[in-house]
Each structure stands twice: as structure tokens, then as C-alpha cells.
């Protein structure tokens, strides 16, 4: 019930904001709907469904809370994903992927550091060979001057 109500309030508020910006895009008229007409209708429906969730929440659906949630690991995994986006271009595919794999294997998945390093190097190298050199995907070279995809 709590989740439904929170989601409902979010949907009402989000729907109103989206409806406002859609209206500004130009509604047009019923004969010739403008670019904002369809998003405006959708935004209104989002708000309506939000109201439905707030006033008629489903009592039977409860989020499943794990007995021992691994919040630290989860946050680290998510942080690594965002970090990867920002280091991919400057460091290049090989180094960024090696770091991503090592952090995921060693710190998120608690695997031994030697095995993690070996798997990370192997994973980054093989994927680089297959995608960069064989399938010619233009992977960012970064600090290692091996140009893939050419």
C-alpha cells in the first residue's frame, strides 16, 4: 500500500509537470493536433493513474525485503557502472573495462584478488580482440594507443 501511494503521488506530480511542458509545446487543435497534444494527453493519464494508485492501493503487493540486503555491494556495483561511463573515453576501453571487471569481481563479488585480476585482464583482452579487432567496433583507445575498429 505504501509503495502504491508513493508511486501514485510521484505519478500525479510528474504528470502535472509533464502536462505543463507538453502544453507549452503547442497543443494545436482537434483537427490538427500539435506536437504537444499526444504528450499532454499521456501526462494527464499518468496523473489519473497516480490518483488511482493513491486512492485504491493494492494491499497484497509488498516489496520483498531480503533478510540480509547487501547494500554496500549494491552501491559499489552501481557506482562502478556510473564510473565506467566517465572513464571509458579518457582511459580507453581496455583499461576502463579491466578496472570495471576487477572491482566487480573482487569487491562486489568477493572473489580472490589474483583470480579477479586474471579474469579481468582476460575478459578485457578477449572482448577487445573480438569486438575491437575482429568486429571492428570503434572502441575508445584512451591511454593505450591500440586503435580498434579501423
Amino acid at each position: 500500500m505504501f509503495v502504491d501511494r508513493i508511486a501514485g503521488i510521484g505519478a500525479i506530480a510528474g504528470g502535472i509537470v509533464l502536462a505543463f511542458f507538453s502544453w507549452k509545446l503547442d497543443w494545436g487543435n482537434w483537427k490538427m493536433p500539435g506536437p504537444g497534444a499526444w504528450p499532454f494527453l499521456l501526462a494527464m493519464i499518468i496523473s489519473l493513474i497516480g490518483g488511482w494508485l493513491v486512492f485504491y492501493p493494492q494491499p497484497s503487493i509488498r516489496p520483498s525485503y531480503p533478510p540480509h540486503p547487501r547494500w554496500g555491494k549494491w552501491a559499489m556495483a552501481l557506482g562502478t557502472l556510473f564510473g565506467y561511463v566517465f572513464i571509458l573515453q579518457p582511459l580507453g576501453y581496455l583499461v576502463a573495462t579491466l578496472l570495471l571487471l576487477f572491482v566487480q569481481l573482487h569487491w562486489v563479488e568477493d572473489r580472490q584478488w589474483k583470480g579477479s585480476l586474471f579474469t579481468a585482464v582476460l575478459g578485457a583482452m578477449i572482448s577487445f580482440l573480438v569486438f575491437g579487432l575482429w568486429l571492428k567496433v570503434m572502441l575508445p583507445p584512451g591511454i593505450i594507443p591500440i586503435r580498434a575498429g579501423s
Binding site: 502504491d4 508511486a7 483537427k31 504528450p39 516489496p63 547487501r70 562486489v108 575478459g123
Partner: protein
């Protein structure tokens, strides 16, 4: 019938060419492995491999992607039976009796009947596509924009209704998907909509980053938070062939599962997972000894496994003839077809008969390959299951991010994938359904176009055009009835309670 056999034979000739046969073989093999491995379902896998098919011919690409889909349905049962963890959603119910059979030393017959049931359901499903599609395509040719809008609206409502436990949640996800589909440059007026001033969003959000994020990264983030320990896998089972008694018990469930799966598969929102759940409920209800269910009843494996494969095939009918995907995997197949310049819909059968009949023939061949692969290779699949998830999940993450980048050589695509990964985690964590979002995201632009075209062609810009035409009027009336079903049910329940 002569109108079917000749093109079907041509289809077989096309599907048996080395390139197409190899594509089909690789597709079903990859699909089976994906079905076996928990954590990477068919939606994320097809999203991942979609860019790789760009270099292929359209037919080979579609044959491979379709093979992954129905291959995953076959493979999903293996983990359910041997580890008690479903490889993908459609095999959830197989865990109940399949795992119990395995604990009693009958993993072999459980896997065997599941493979045979899948083969029968899949093969009859393909036969149904072949028989129904031409008739449906003929009828759909008469559809104008209002009828198309009515059909999309009907599909959308049914998807919301069937998607999960709460219709409001399903519809919210669906409308969110429609809205996300509206982001980008408006086709008619050329105006940017919700692009936040970025060049990237002018082309709209990509389906592949969205699907890989929601289904791939979302699932992995969820598993990282929830995981307690690695699972133990049973030894490779021997004697895979079901006994005569097993066959006697399974014959009717397989028959009923085929019919049920087909009907549900054709309906929008009728995902294979829904068909297997309903099949299990039906089998339990009609069983002579329902108390055996949950304790290792073979009927509880045969029915659902047949139904999910029949539903998988059934879903191709609306996809190929109306251009309407009934679940998220088919939404990606629709995107793949369009990426290859093939527009699914009533004209597909007439404009690209080689694609239609080639895919049909490849599905017959694929089902036979799967039956041959599944039983002898079970030992290999058990070994794959022994690869620890803690090793697999970082590698899956790497492939998802690499796939996202490879699409357009764009880091922004990677960022979008990660953002949708976070959304996918939240959706899964709080029991919302990602499938309506993806389906609506794909249907959205087509739905908007038919909505606006209908209003332009109406005499005074009136929405009465949707209700004044018989087909669109009927479809909209049914959709509105579906929308009010929860309210009607609540009222009826209250009335019954008042009446004592």
C-alpha cells in the same frame, strides 16, 4: 491448402541455405544457454545481439533472434528442474513439480517430458502461425488509421491488464513507456519534444539501451542486493526418456497446454509466463489427484512447458500480420525487422514472402534442432550451470555495456543503459512490471501517428471517428470494458458480501 504448401516449401529452401541454417542453429543454441543461465533473459540477450545482426541479411538476422527466443523457452526448464531457479520467467511454475521430481531421482523424465512437450507445443504453434496469419493479414489490409489506433489501444489495455498483479501499476508502466516513446523530434512538425536541449535525444531514446538496461543491468543489480549464497547443482541425470506411464499422464496436459498456449500467445500481453501459469492452474484443477501437485506431478511439468512454447510461437501471429508485439522480446524483434528495412504488418506476407515463410520454416527446423540438442547435451548444460554466478555477473555487465557502446560508438548510449538499469532495479524491487513499458515504448510512435492521422481525416477534428467505425468502435469498447473490470469486480464483490 495449396496456397500454403508452395510458399512453405520455398521457405524451407530459403531456411536451409547454409547461412540461414547456421543463423538458426546459433540462435537456438545461444537461446538454450541463455535460458539455462539465470540473470540474462531473452529480452536482454536479443537487445545485446541485435546490433551484431546488422551485418547479416535481414532474414538470417531475424531467424537468429527468433531462435534465441524460443531456444530460451526450452533452456529455461533445465534450471527450474535441476536447481529450483527459473532460467527465465516462463519456467517459474516448472520449479514446483520439476524440482520435486529431481529430488526424487526423476530429473531425467522431467527434463525429457519438458523437451518433448516444448517440441510439440512449439511445432503446433508454428503450424498455427502458418494457418492463421494469411487470414488475419487479409483482414488487416482493410484497416485505416482509426482501426489501427483502436487495435493499438486494445493491445495496450490488455498488456496492462495481464502484465502483473495490479492493473494500475501495469498501466502506469505502459503510459510511461508511451511517453518515453514520444521523446525526440516530432515527425509532423519537426519540433523537439523533451530532448533537454541535447542532440542525442533528438532521435529519441534507443530501444536497445532501454531494454538492456531494464532487463539486463536491472536484473543484475537486483541479484547483487538479494544474493545470499551460490546454488548447488544436481548431478547429470541419466535415463532422460519418460516411461509409458509418464506419457499416459502427460498426453492430455500436453494437448491442453498446446491449445491454451496458442490462444494466450496470440493475445496482446499474453506472455509465455502467463500461459504456463494458467496451464498449471488448469492441470491442477482437472487432475484426478490434485494433491500430488507440488510433490512431483509430471503433469505440472508437461502442461506449462508445452504452453509456454506454444505461446512463444503464437506471439508471432500478431507480430507478423498486424505489426503488434505481444511481449517485450517480440517488441525487440519488431525493432530488428524495422532495422533491417522490413516493416511487419499485413503487407509483410505479400511484400516480403521470403522473410515470412523463411522464418516459419526456420522455426520448424529450430524446434527439431532443439529436441536433438536438448537431450544429448544435458550433461554440458549441467556443467554450464556450475559456473558460479559471481563470475558470470561481471562478465554479463561487461557485455551489456559493450553492446550498448557498439550500437553507435556512443558513451551516451552506455549512460542511458546504466540509467535504465537503475530504473529496472527499482521496477523489479518494488514489483512493478517492465514489460508493458518496453511494449508501449515500441507501440507509442505508431499509436500517436494513427491517432493524429485519424483526427486529421475526421470531418471536424472529432474523436467520434474512433467510435463511429465498427472495427475501431468495437475494439475501443472492449478496451474500455477491460479498463473498468477492476471496478466492476469490486462492486460485484461488495454486492455479494452485502447479500451475505
Amino acid at each position: 491448402m495449396p496456397g500454403i504448401f508452395e510458399p512453405l516449401l520455398n521457405g524451407f529452401a530459403i531456411a536451409m541455405t547454409p547461412g540461414n541454417f547456421l543463423a538458426g542453429f546459433l540462435g537456438v543454441l545461444i537461446g538454450t544457454v541463455i535460458g539455462i543461465l539465470p540473470g540474462l533473459g531473452p529480452t536482454a540477450s536479443i537487445a545485446l545481439l541485435l546490433p551484431a545482426t546488422i551485418g547479416m541479411s535481414p532474414l538470417s538476422g531475424i531467424i537468429m533472434l527468433a531462435g534465441i527466443y524460443y531456444g530460451a523457452m526450452y533452456g529455461g526448464s533445465t534450471t527450474s528442474i535441476l536447481v529450483n531457479i527459473p532460467g527465465e520467467a516462463a519456467s517459474v511454475v516448472t520449479c514446483i513439480d520439476g524440482y520435486q521430481m529431481a529430488k526424487q531421482g526423476r530429473a531425467g523424465p522431467a527434463l525429457g517430458i519438458s523437451a518433448f512437450g516444448s517440441f510439440i507445443g512449439g511445432t503446433f504453434g508454428v503450424a498455427a502461425i502458418m494457418l492463421i496469419s494469411p487470414l488475419l493479414a487479409e483482414a488487416a489490409l482493410k484497416f485505416g488509421p482509426p482501426e489501427r489506433f483502436g487495435l493499438f489501444f486494445f493491445a495496450f489495455t490488455l498488456i496492462g491488464y495481464l502484465a502483473g498483479k495490479s492493473m494500475a501499476r501495469g498501466l502506469l508502466m505502459g503510459v510511461l513507456g508511451l511517453f518515453l516513446g514520444a521523446i525526440g523530434t516530432d515527425d509532423i512538425h519537426g519540433v523537439d519534444r523533451f530532448t533537454l536541449g541535447t542532440l542525442y535525444l533528438r532521435d529519441g531514446i534507443g530501444l536497445v539501451p532501454l531494454a538492456m538496461g531494464l532487463f539486463g543491468l536491472g536484473e543484475i543489480l537486483y541479484n547483487i542486493e538479494q544474493r545470499e549464497k551460490e546454488v548447488s547443482v544436481m548431478a547429470t541425470p541419466k535415463d532422460l526418456l519418460p516411461t509409458r506411464k509418464d506419457w499416459r499422464k502427460s498426453a492430455w496436459p500436453i494437448g491442453r497446454g498446446t491449445l491454451l498456449g496458442l490462444v494466450i500467445g496470440i493475445l496482446p500481453g499474453g506472455m509465455p509466463a502467463v500461459s504456463s501459469l494458467i496451464s498449471y492452474a488448469v492441470e491442477k484443477r482437472v487432475a484426478k489427484n490434485p494433491e500430488e501437485f507440488g510433490k512431483g506431478a509430471i503433469e505440472g511439468v508437461a502442461g506449462p512447458e508445452t504452453a509456454n512454447n506454444a505461446a512463444t510461437a503464437g506471439g508471432f501471429v500478431p507480430l507478423l500480420t498486424l505489426g503488434i508485439p505481444t511481449n517485450s522480446v517480440l517488441a525487440l524483434l519488431l525493432a530488428a525487422l524495422m532495422l533491417h528495412g522490413v516493416t511487419p504488418g499485413p503487407l509483410l506476407l505479400f511484400k516480403y514472402p521470403e522473410v515470412f515463410w523463411g522464418v516459419i520454416a526456420s522455426m520448424y527446423i529450430g524446434n527439431i534442432i532443439l529436441l536433438i540438442l536438448n537431450l544429448p547435451l544435458i550433461g554440458l548444460f549441467v556443467q554450464i550451470l556450475k559456473v558460479p554466478y559471481s563470475l558470470l555477473s561481471p562478465l554479463i555487465i561487461m557485455f551489456v555495456l559493450l553492446g550498448a557502446y557498439a550500437l553507435n560508438n556512443s558513451v551516451t548510449d552506455v549512460l542511458v543503459t546504466v540509467l535504465f538499469g537503475l530504473l529496472g532495479y527499482i521496477i523489479k524491487r518494488y514489483h512493478f512490471e517492465p514489460a508493458p513499458l518496453v511494449l508501449a515504448f515500441v507501440l507509442g510512435p505508431m499509436m500517436e501517428t494513427s491517432f493524429r492521422q485519424s483526427l486529421i481525416m475526421s470531418p471536424a477534428g472529432s474523436i467520434a471517428i474512433f467510435f463511429s467505425r465498427p472495427i475501431s468502435g468495437t475494439l475501443l469498447a472492449i478496451a474500455i470494458l477491460v479498463l473498468f473490470l477492476p471496478l466492476i469486480r469490486r462492486r460485484l464483490k461488495a454486492n455479494f458480501q452485502t447479500a451475505g
